[in-house]
Symmetry: C2
Subunit: 319 residues, 2 copies
């Protein structure tokens, strides 16, 4: 009999969240440990195994688990290793998939969080039945998971799909954490939105609800709240953000001509505020042969579950 469940594990800098998931994408049992408590990766593996045990027991034991999928920053699908992830406690290269599968006696596959999100959309979400699509994660940074011909794009080295780091402004671009300037994520991530707000407050005298705050305290959520109160500046910040995303999406379409681009993560919650300007700009900027062909969609994974679901989807193919 086909084993009916998989385990999804989302490894974040603060928490590691996991769950047992069925074929329809329902998280049946779940748990969590604190990633930051384990500076030694072996202690982390021991704690993770200890946390997983009761959750797997509840589901019926290891015999009903087909595989474990992990979403990890800088996770390399080909090697199963985490390579120099800045926000995780372990330095250098950690053979995470191997360590965990040896401990659990279950096959483990891993990839980075944005790729996990894309596999999650394909397995349980907005991309069911699609063979060509791109998931764009709009969080602290901008990430991406690209699927072409039904396969995740990993590239020759396992690190493909860094669309937050295409250069969208070549002159006087914003400084990026990656050491270059003008990267998409410096404009269109949650932090990029806050940066745009601070720039506007400084460069204009326009009245805005955002002036009631300390500029350095402003978050994308504050910009969203102000926009919902019809604050003109806040609305324009979302317009600008959407315009830039639309410009970038037009170039992505010229590359892989996806059936859909799916928005995932915090900023996607802004709904029409961000979707409408993206759509307008994407249509205006797309090469005519592709115009009107690529759908723009929101993720269909429930945000609180999305990371575990996305990771779990990898578990179905783990070997």
């Amino acid at each position: 009999m086909e084993k009916p469940y998989v385990v999804g594990i989302d490894v974040g800098g603060t928490n590691t969240v996991f769950g047992v998931v069925d074929a329809r994408g329902v998280i049946l049992y779940s748990g969590a440990i604190k990633t930051g408590n384990y500076p030694d990766v072996n202690d982390y593996i021991t704690a993770l195994a200890k946390g997983l045990k009761p959750v797997i027991e509840q589901a019926g034991g290891t015999d009903v688990i087909k595989g474990i999928g992990m979403g990890v920053p800088n996770g390399n699908y080909y090697t199963g290793c985490i390579e120099c992830a800045a926000n995780l406690p372990w330095k250098n290269t950690v053979p995470m998939a191997q360590l965990l599968s040896e401990k659990m006696h279950i096959p483990v596959s891993l990839t980075n969080d944005a790729n996990a999100a894309a596999i999650g959309e394909m397995t349980y979400g907005a991309a069911r039945g699609m063979k060509d699509f791109i998931v764009i994660t709009l969080g602290t940074g901008v990430g991406s998971g690209i699927v072409i011909g039904g396969n995740m794009v990993y590239g020759h080295d396992g690190f493909a799909g860094e669309l937050g780091h295409v250069i969208i402004r070549r002159k006087n671009g914003r400084v990026c954490g990656c050491g270059r300037t003008g990267c998409l994520e410096t404009y269109c991530s949650a932090t990029g939105v806050a940066r745009t707000a601070r720039e506007m407050l400084e460069l204009t005298n326009e009245p805005s609800l955002l002036r009631d705050m300390q500029p350095e305290d402003i978050t994308s959520k504050d910009v969203f709240d102000a926009a919902m109160k019809n604050d003109k500046m806040a609305c324009r910040i979302f317009e600008i953000t959407g315009e830039i995303l639309g410009e970038a999406f037009a170039d992505f379409i010229a590359f892989s001509s996806p059936e859909a681009i799916i928005l995932f993560g915090g900023l996607a919650k802004a709904g029409d505020l961000i979707m409408k300007p993206i759509k307008r700009s994407m249509d205006a900027n797309t090469l005519s042969v592709f115009k009107g062909k690529t759908k723009l969609l929101f993720s269909q994974l429930k945000e609180s579950d999305a990371a575990v679901l996305g990771a779990s989807a990898l578990g179905w193919e783990a070997k």
Copy 2:
């Protein structure tokens, strides 16, 4: 017994060139007809079949031909149709693969010329054994064929891989034939190089061998010839062209992390003149995780044969 040969057909606006090709990429027999002589596509098919017949007979008859591959502007791999190709005599949508296979009783596959070049490199050329690479064709325009995980990227509609039309200059970009501005091919095609030359001659008073010509007559070949005579302006034109290509390549790498980018077509003949600045710029602009990983190569298909070889490579999988 496996059929030992394929037929490759390169359909250009002026000529249609074809040949019988073996598994090692040797063109055994070849021929040509004038595309422009047949405004009715049915007459074209009749003439093409008549031209193919003796060539296929020489090889041993239709029984030794596994399939026919065609490289055609705007050719759609999925449908086998040519869709609104500006430089071909037939308007609207032409079901070329179907028409020819019904006439010849041999399976026919087609795709656009840049994709055919990529399949040619993978089958017989510089990309043998590679699963992830991009071929950039530097001719009158800039085209591309993208291979990911060993598969040609066609996108959801069959038209993916228009990398000549990513926007490389968002402000005051050059007007492109596609109706937009700032496209890569307005700078980095053969015509783009000539445009850069005209701009420089107009905007500076710098002496140059190129001043001996009528600006509107200057071609990329003239710029190349001047650069080979150490003309400073001509050398700088190649520098600038290479720099812009390197910027674009860095973004392509962020998308699909290819093992190699392969240069094909007229401008690639400039050799180090174009390769060195591309390499320098690509290294300077690439995100650190990818730096130094992607090889930059020249096509290994002999230019006069490349179009037929590339098309023929599709014939091996034609069904």
